[in-house]
Every structure is written in C-alpha cells, then in structure tokens.
C-alpha cells in the first residue's frame, strides 16, 4: 500500500465525516491487511497537514480527534456564505441621507435644524461606513462643524449619473398632493440596522 493511497483514504475519511475522527476511526476504514498502525496514521496525518500548508485548510487536533478545518484567517471570508438577512434602515437615517443629498454641503447642525431633532452620531457613522457620504471640509464657524456631502458611490448605488437626476423638490410636492401610498417597510417587522429610533 502506497503512502499516497493511505493519505488519500485518510483525507477522504476526514472530509466525508466532516467532523473530528479518532485514530481508531481512521484505522477502521482500512481492511485488516491494509490497516496502518497508530504511528503510521500519525505520519500520514503529518503528511496531510503538510499538504495543506499553502491552502486555506488545516488539520486540527482536538479533544475528539483529528479534523480538517478552514483556517481562521479565511473564516470571515467564508462566513459570507451565510449572510444574515439584512435589517432595514431607520426613517431617521433615510431622512438624514436625503438631506445630505439634496442640501449638500451640509453640517450636522443644519440637518438637525431641518429635522427638528438631534442627529444620532451612529447614523452619520453608518453613512460614512457605507461610503455614501463623506466629510468634505469644515465650516468656518465656532465649533468648526464638519460639512457633509455625498460620494460617487452614493450615485452608483442609486443608479444616478449625477445629483441633478434626483427629482426636484417641486416635483416631490406634487407627488405629495396625490397622497400616494408608496410601499415602505412595515416598521413593526423591521429591525433597525443603525440602532436608532425614528427621530
């Protein structure tokens, strides 16, 4: 029996099991004539570990035996296979984003003036992280507040070439008069992603 054959069988057993196997489990896979000793199996496992040296896999020895696992440096990446269902943004975030889009360059204070409530710092953080807004400068008034504007990524996301493609305010007013029932998220089921309540 060649070493390669033994290594192949051990690898196949570990991957078919998808969990930790003891040396005795591994030995049992072989016929009596083929059955390797524990020392031989350990040597085979070492070979296998070497095979994984430049892979995203590794051989791990745990209390319940040996297993093949994804290296932790790749874990975050692989975890993207199981994304959590995205939450929804709060009304406050959408209004803040809309004001930054329509009234940019704009400071937080100005957003608060229009909305009549304080802007939750998490909202600005979320929008910055999403790369939809950016700090384009500071206003030369006491406190030197940051001035916010939208980014090219913001335009891309909403399928716009330029900001002027947003419908002007006058048009929106006309829409409002029709009292359109536009489909919005049901707040009772939506989990707010930015951790803020509606302002």
């Amino acid at each position: 029996m060649s070493d390669a054959y033994r290594r192949n069988v051990v690898e196949a057993a570990l991957l078919a099991a998808g969990r930790s196997l003891q040396l005795s489990d591994l030995a049992q896979v072989f016929t009596l004539e083929e059955r390797p000793s524990d020392a031989q199996l350990l040597a085979t496992l070492e070979e296998l570990a070497a095979l994984y040296a430049d892979r995203a896999l590794e051989l791990a020895h745990t209390a319940s035996g040996w297993r093949v696992q994804v290296r932790s440096d790749y874990a975050t990446q692989i975890a993207r296979l199981w994304p959590e269902r995205p939450a929804r943004y709060s009304r406050a975030l959408l209004e803040t984003l809309a004001l930054i889009a329509y009234r940019q360059p704009i400071t937080r204070g100005e957003i608060e003036q229009v909305r009549g409530v304080a802007v939750n710092p998490n909202i600005i953080k979320t929008l910055l992280e999403r790369n939809w807004i950016r700090v384009i400068g500071t206003r030369d008034v006491p406190g030197r507040p940051e001035v916010l504007g939208t980014t090219a990524e913001f335009l891309d996301y909403f399928g716009l070439q330029k900001l002027e493609q947003l419908p002007p305010l006058a048009e929106l007013r006309a829409l409002a008069e029709f009292n359109l029932q536009l489909e919005l998220a049901d707040p009772s089921t939506a989990q707010l992603a930015d951790g803020t309540s509606d302002g």
Binding site: L15, Y102, E164, L166, L172
Partner: protein, 297 residues
C-alpha cells in the same frame, strides 16, 4: 368451500427481496389444498410454501410477474406464447388463492385480461383482416414493454453513483462562524420619500427655510469644497470648466457665491487686479499668522 380471497394492496414499502432465482426443486408433494394433495403443479412452478409469500412479494404486480414468466423462457415480450404464459399465470393465481395468501386485486384483473385475450385469439377470423383491427395481444404487449422500460430505468437509476452510498460530499469544519451582516438595501424611492416628508415637516414647523438652489449647484458646491480639501490656495479660474459651457460656468459661479455666503470658502486677493485665489475656510485656522482663539483649546 372456496377459500376466502382477501384482496389487499401489497405493502410495497417493505424491504425488497432479491428477485427469485428460477426454482429448480425436485418434484414432491408440498401442500394439501381442500383435502387434495397438490402434486399437479408444473415442476418449474414449485416453491416451498414458506417461500411462496416471499416469492410473490418480490413481484411488483401482475406485469412484473408476467415479465418474469416470459423472461424465464428467454422469450421476448413481443413473442409471448400467450396460451402457455396464461396457463402459468393462472396456476400462480390459483395457488395463491388456494393457500389463502393475500393477493392484490390487480393480479385478478390481469387474470381476467389474459382470459379475454386468449378467447379473442381463439375466435376464427376472416381471411381479409381489417388493418385497423389490432392483435388482441397488442395492448398487453404495449403495457409489458412500457413497464419493462421503467423497471429497467429504475435499475439504471439505482446504479447511478449516489450520495452517501457511492460518493460523499466533502466538508471541512468552519470553527468560528462569524455572523456576516449584509448592509440593508435602500431604494431611491425610499430616500426621496424621506426627503419629501422631512421638508414637509420642516415647513410645517417653520424652523428653517430650506434653500432652493438647484441640485446642480449643491453638487458643484460639494465638488468645490472637496477639491479644496488640501488646504492650499487654488486659482479662482481653475474652478471653472469652460468645456461645460455657459450654463456650467454659471452653476460654478453660483456655487462659489453660495459657499462664500455659507462661510465654507474664502476668496483672497493680494492686491487690486491681482488674480483671485480660493481656499477652504477651514484652512484659515491652520495658518500661523491668523490664529483662531477657538481652535487653540
């Protein structure tokens, strides 16, 4: 004094038995039915009684049994010696009834069908046969063939490499499965509605007069402030893009005026008629010669 006949649907989910090997037993009396020893069975029909039920369960119905009888004689479905096959089939049915074995109703229906075909084939026919008239066996042959195709298809299916029998999905352990949150999706419509609502509300409370510059001006304002992000002076003229035409130049000009009004940029001129320079207002505090007391702390 007929044995009672029970008609049931055989339990097909039961574990299958291997197909019966053609019986090769020597003749011997094996059963006493209605007081008479059963010794009249053809030799090749003999089955030990305890095995008979098992034997019959191995058949998936009358078509399967018929196929077995035909194949046992190395005959083709298209070549049924109908009289002989019917005789053998009837023997099995009688045997099953005599032994009071549970018998699926379909077996009896087939017995009737065979009897009917046989009688039709025995009828004398005119020499000039109507072409449209079918061989009485045709329907049976068609059914046997059709059944045999799927019997074989089932065997082929069973022979395909199957998960957990022939091949196994390979899997590795993912230890710290982190939860990956997807960013929430937003539609343009949602955002526009949010804007409409916030404007409507702000006008209601009259807290703030929402300016009415066109979006092109607002966008240009952002571009200009962003382009001055380095903090240095930029030539006023460089802010204009002649290729945008008169309209573009006008938009830029309004944007600059609005930025000055809002205190976002400074326009500097060293001496009369010298070129104008622009810089971000925020950059002013960074220069040593114009300290801002507020920025010190």
């Amino acid at each position: 004094m007929q044995p009672e006949l029970k008609i049931v649907v055989s339990n097909e989910a039961a574990a299958p038995q291997p197909p019966p090997a053609p019986p090769e037993q020597v003749e011997m009396p094996f059963a006493v039915v209605n007081g008479e020893p059963v010794t009249q069975l053809p030799r090749d029909l003999y089955i030990p009684p305890q095995a008979l039920e098992v034997f019959l369960e191995a058949f998936e119905g009358p078509l399967d049994l018929l196929l077995y009888l035909i194949r046992r004689q190395n005959l083709d479905v298209l070549d049924i010696p109908l009289a002989e096959i019917t005789r053998q089939y009837m023997k099995y049915i009688e045997l099953m009834q005599d032994l009071q074995l549970e018998l699926a109703g379909e077996y009896l229906v087939m017995a009737a069908t065979l009897a009917e075909i046989k009688s039709r084939m025995l009828l004398p026919r005119a020499a000039a046969v109507d072409d449209a008239e079918e061989d009485p066996r045709a329907e049976l042959v068609r059914r046997l063939q059709e059944y045999e195709r799927f019997k074989r298809a089932a065997e082929n299916l069973d022979a395909l490499p199957r998960l957990e029998r022939d091949v196994w999905s390979a899997s590795a352990v993912l230890t710290d499965r982190k939860v990956v949150r997807l960013v929430p999706p937003v539609t343009l419509q949602e955002m526009i509605i949010a804007f409409r609502d916030v404007v409507a509300r702000s006008e209601m409370f009259a807290h703030h007069h929402v300016q009415r510059e066109p979006l092109s001006v607002r966008a240009r304002m952002t571009d200009i402030v962003a382009s001055l992000g380095g903090g240095g002076f930029v030539d006023f003229v460089q802010l204009f893009r002649p290729e945008e035409g008169r309209m573009g130049v006008a938009v830029t000009f309004i944007a600059i005026l609005e930025l000055v009004r809002e205190g976002l940029i400074d326009i500097v001129q060293q001496e009369p008629f010298a070129p104008l320079h622009v810089r971000a207002a925020a950059a002013r505090q960074l220069t040593a010669d114009a300290p801002d007391p507020e920025s010190r702390q």
